[in-house]
Point group: D3
Chain length 334, copies 6
């Protein structure tokens, strides 16, 4: 009963090296990622027992994706295979004032055709302790939304913690449903809310500002609207430019508001997946620490992710704790 379950699309990310554009070089690198599996891999790297559920192409690309998950010792036994290709995204990494650009090829991917009957939720959750979902999955299409909803319902019924990262990405949601209604129903089955003012305003149709006062007020209103939500966690990113960010976190757990100090990331290596690293740090931290230390751990996890190329956070628990404890000068470890 100690398994963390993540459910979502696995994407192949293809990118030129460094800050090059595709027009500059035909040498590219690929990684695998996807918001939920990023969370799963990161938790596995912290020592967690993680099962990832997805639908992956039945070809050598899909085999490579699964071997990538195995590499991090994820439980991949619940993954189903499909004759559709794996979703792909192309990334051009920006620098300084130049933003990174992404082009997706995912709307008819293997995951896009997942249907509720393809996942045996009862079996998949049998050792489950925690279930994590994000707003990407319901945004993809009806099938993925319904499959997730079934999982959510069962997870709550079985008493798992359910963490929600209801990121709203307007470029998705092409299949004709109202994002607010869909997400709203899903949050009713969730206990931990990972998101900030934007997500709350989107759900509640409110206009809270980014101030701490408003964050507390918004969290309270959210928890009134969705009584299952026990705690609200928010990561705050300050972007000087593409290459220089600062990260801090704040929380409202129904009792107290706490906020961490900014961690200064003066030379960003890769910002993709840093939000997922925060969510993973939080899920892991809430199981081991008190709430404030959990957001310290989560923001340290988020910060260190900026130093790894690729979508996933390679840091282990000890490395994140070291940052949390203030070892941020990067002294060489021999």
């Amino acid at each position: 009963m100690n398994q963390i379950i993540t459910f979502g699309e696995v994407l192949m990310r293809i990118s030129p090296r460094g800050n090059k554009k595709f027009i500059q070089s035909n040498n590219v690198e690929f990684y695998f990622g996807g918001t939920e599996v990023n969370v799963g891999i990161s938790i596995a790297n912290f020592g967690g027992n993680v099962k990832h559920i997805s639908c992956i192409s039945d070809d050598f690309i899909g085999n490579t994706a699964i071997s990538y998950l195995n590499k991090f010792d994820l439980d991949t036994t619940a993954i189903v295979r499909s004759s559709r290709p794996l979703g792909v995204y192309f990334l051009e990494v920006g620098a300084v004032i130049r933003p990174s650009s992404i082009s997706y090829n995912r709307s008819h991917s293997s995951f896009s055709e997942i249907k509720p009957e393809m996942v045996d939720w009862e079996k998949s959750l049998e050792n489950g302790k925690w279930f994590h979902w994000t707003g990407i999955t319901p945004a993809l299409n009806k099938g993925s939304q319904q499959t997730l909803l079934e999982g959510l319902k069962l997870a709550r019924k079985k008493g798992l913690q359910v963490s929600a990262d209801p990121t709203y990405r307007s470029g998705l949601w092409k299949y004709g449903e109202n994002p607010r209604e869909i997400l709203s129903e899903m949050i009713e089955y969730s206990t931990i809310f990972i998101g900030g003012i934007n997500e709350i305003n989107e759900l509640l149709e409110t206009e809270y500002t980014y101030s701490n006062e408003d964050f507390i007020a918004a969290s309270k209103q959210l928890m009134e609207t969705y009584p299952s939500i026990e705690k609200v966690f928010d990561k705050i990113r300050t972007s000087i430019n593409s290459s220089w960010h600062k990260i801090r976190a704040r929380m409202w757990n129904g009792v107290e508001f706490r906020e961490t100090e900014d961690i200064d990331i003066t030379h960003v290596v890769d910002r993709i997946g840093t939000g997922d690293a925060f969510a993973a740090g939080l899920i892991h931290g809430l199981q081991k620490f008190d709430d404030f230390k959990a957001i310290q751990f989560a923001s340290a996890a988020c910060a260190i992710k900026h130093t790894y190329l690729g979508d996933v956070n390679y840091a282990n628990e000890e490395e994140v704790v070291s940052i949390l404890e203030g070892n941020t000068t990067g002294r060489l470890k021999r």
Copy 2:
């Protein structure tokens, strides 16, 4: 009135270096290709004036694809753009007894949504001398088949030479039409048939063998069935294994049968696109040489393509003529 027109999908090819599999390395290279554009680029490299018509994604990947065509000085002004992603194929290059493997992600690509109204054939063909098509385009879906058919009809009406490479690939043709009927109608608008016994048997529902006698008989029957066809050209590949091939060609032009000698390709670098190099060599050769020299040129072009990585043939006319004239020992050019 000297433009060669090619019409078809442009695909991004992604492949690990050398003989590696995707599971072995996250360093990969990409090239662009697609059977018709391969023909177009090769003819441009021979000095031809080539226009390629296609539908390409309106993102940085599509921009890169178009810049790739521009690089070879193709006329890209008739290309239309789409919000769908560019088609992709993943290639693992085999060696010796291990075959190469391909996985396609093309069934919902930008080209797959092309519709007749998206191409201004009148304008596109206004300087046309030759139109080339292959059996891939009608296999993709109804829209691409109908768009091609309109082009074919107008090309014939305007008196262009029309070369057909009616390759039948059973893995495609998912949209519910009978390949034989579709291809048959298209061949009625064609004048040059580039294909062998397999393609003829498929069209005529015959069972000719690979012998030269049968090739002549089959060609005659083909030309009786499709009176527009003036000449039939066939490339013969002998594969010792993935890394060692031999290439020769034969022809029936209604008057005489001719056959070339085998060219021995003892160390294959890349066999993708070698059939397209043959077609390009033929189209270029028929404009400059007599029929027999044209198949010598085409088989030399096909042979030298096996030494270039990627889908396209980089050889210029002089380099192919040199092989045709027997300079096959690879003496260093200082």
Copy 3:
């Protein structure tokens, strides 16, 4: 009548990856560049119709250079070929307090033997709207200087705008002429002056300082001396070190002085060609915007160039405008 004409040497740039020296690695990358063609490519990327005129080696290196220009859709039909090799420069990219180093192999290059009779200026300028030249071309040798001068004279006669970037590089000018006299005559045929205090002091034998007051006074004196000059534009670079620059611009258009804010480039990827990006931004901006917005556009173009590897600016108009409008935090574009 909408073509921008650039004239100058195309060089092959060869450089180790990252900050390595040649002694550290035999893996190197090459790009093509040259101050005038950099301007041309950048304007083409903004959507301009650009013709580049040059003399390029008639070998596979020259073919590659021309295909590189074609890739950006430049009109390369006026380029002449030569049996001399293409000019090359070797670059070791510095970092922080270590300057980059360049070693040139250009003094007997294909461009170095260009002669007035090799360029058909009448034909080359027939659709011309704007002609751009720099101080590099007259510095190379007598032939290139005279060829340029003929072009300049005809351009003025035909009423094209003529922009001058009279960079004075003392390492060149080996063929025995007085730089001041040569440049002075050329500026008489120019309308837009892109250069700062150093260039003006060099031309006028004055000693203006870098202050805004002196810039205005110097510009006025310049415009009195060369009445064809209508406007003066100056880019100001503040270098904290090799890896951290700031860029702003100022102008005197005969009526008003304006100055932009510094753009902070905290992590320089490649500073080669950033001055050319400024010139390109200015030439494009002056055709679309008022003078002040033109220098804002030019300095944004210059700034974003620092984030691209290689000599040329890959940014399109929309991307530069976005920076000009203040979007400098590098928010990811999905």
Copy 4:
């Protein structure tokens, strides 16, 4: 009760690309290998359930090695960790008449300090069906020899099949024991003998030749000397040079002698681990096929391994069966 158990050292292999020497390039690639783990990974790729037992360094290199095994879905739960570094070997890949060269750094590796008390053989073998060992492990030092011997004894006691690949490598065996005595005792606990005339002559102090007659006679004498041995399998390599090999196999199973045809490997990609691929093919084949088909499968597996870079065989069962069935012309799989 279906697990295949392999036990042995995991080595990091470091090699320049292609046929380069270390003096030529500081760009190198690493893979993991080791004769027994190569067998394990290959069987896992055929679909087998494989547990590998080893002692691996407790650092980021060891973590990477274990993640490499996880990637192929091996059971790594019985691996112990050590503060000693992982063994390394450096490889320069030859070509044609130039042999490959290997330099080892393994004599004080993490595996070299394994001791019997570090492995819980009872638990490790609890689901075991087959145990595979080679002559490398007892050659390393006393501790690894004794640890293996304990495993062998228990494996026989529990009735597992035990396959022996008693390769004798004279460069090892530095710890003062007599190889013949040590290997002899171990073969007493083995049931399947994978080795040829050299290994038999070494064990029996005989002088059999390579003829089939002698192979049969030698096998009979071996089986008389070691009554536990049920079958003898021999792989025969014909080396034209470093880049061109031929592979066939023969067997004596106590009842019949059979021999396969040569498979011609005209362009060797990597010969390291091809013997291990043979052993893996045999172990897998003997569980699914009759003895003759098993050596056909094993020699096809060995042959296809020559086309993969690195120590391990990436082919799955279907791919090997296809070669066994005569599909050796490398026809492209789309």
Copy 5:
């Protein structure tokens, strides 16, 4: 009599590119280094005549290491060869808040078995002017400690300057001796002390702070305890994080205390070997300049080393002097 002699282990450093971890990429690069040879190579790059003495593996890796030293024109004639492998270290380069990590494989390396009788000190020092040693060599094992001690004694006897960099690394010193006693004896044969408060406190069992006052007091006490010591030099590193350091230096030469300004290294490329670059700069500087200019030179050398990948400082004397003279804005050198 102008040779600088360095003595110590040469290690092969293996590292993924950029900030990657070994688990992320099997493409790695190697360099050679080792604290004393880094000093030697750097001095050779300043124009010094340097002999490095070591014990190196007698295989292709050792040949590559020696060719690496030859490349910088070091005198390698006193190097002895061994059948033991060369020491290796694996490096994962951190970024920002993530520290770099090192894993060593050196405890049974070729250098580890060096014995006094293997080095002909009389011959090795015959042209010697300066001898440099560090605290790494005596920490490795008894043999290397004794070999060094013999060299030190002879060097002093022959009147060479002897510089000591008595870095104390607790992860070494496994062979059972008391570091303080060993190092203390060695310092008795030294004339120049390169080290700071930590090293002095370790030797004298004192508790001086980092203040300048304490540095002077500590230096005085050190020079009283070890009368052979003439001068004390200290490099001070301020680490904002892994990617951003500042470097300055201070000195006590028995007469005056001097301190340099911080040099700001805003984008660290590689901090390995920067201490060695300081030592090399000092040794070279003390031969050419007064003491204060020597620490300015040394800290400039240390600073510029942060911009080179690998263990060694590639800067020549002119480049370091330029920084010393304040040219730190990285202006391009054409």
Copy 6:
């Protein structure tokens, strides 16, 4: 008195990886070479004491070239530096029927401006035993021809063996002299002739065929014409195609004719410099072996060079002797 002296241009070779063309990839590799320095490096790798004399650019490229020679422990002290750039050649490596192509940028290189007064021949030859020259150096220009001639005269006067490789390359010889006259005078100072029928026919204006009979007759006539010539050595290459060669050698030493067997090079890695490897093998062989064993050694050296990328032969004496002794099956060396 044991030094081998080589004199000639050092060129930088720049080439894409594998069989790519420059148009296909901007990732290229560089090596250094040049026919005489290739000979020198190869002899140094056999253990010879070699001094190379040249004129090299005084920039970071020249520094890299010299460090490359140092790497192989050549004596580089007689090299002079120049402000002209180093000569460069670009190489596209062919395959099978596609020839490799070379484009030179050497006609105004640093070596091209060498003058007799720049080389101190007396000092350069003071420890000389053997002097080697080729037909490339006198072909470059008057200065290099005269410099070489002075060296040749002194070498003969001092009694050194002088080996001539009078390769005639018609693409050079642009400075207005008659190749035959120039080469003829130089051969008068030579003792060993390394060349075949083509070179002899060129010199003697004869029309000998490639038969052994004609080779003997031609050699006799050559030795009559040039009495200083003691022995004639000829390498015979049979090219099946770019990727498959065979090498043998023959000799006439005034007494006997001998011929070696063909060595079959089924997979050519790099054929550049193979003739130089033959010359080096011969020069080294003649010092250690009898004449026939010397040509066996030379042809084995030539053959193994085909397996190394780059211009130089990395094989040591032991490796070449092993091939000479018939070990051509490439058995792995552990």
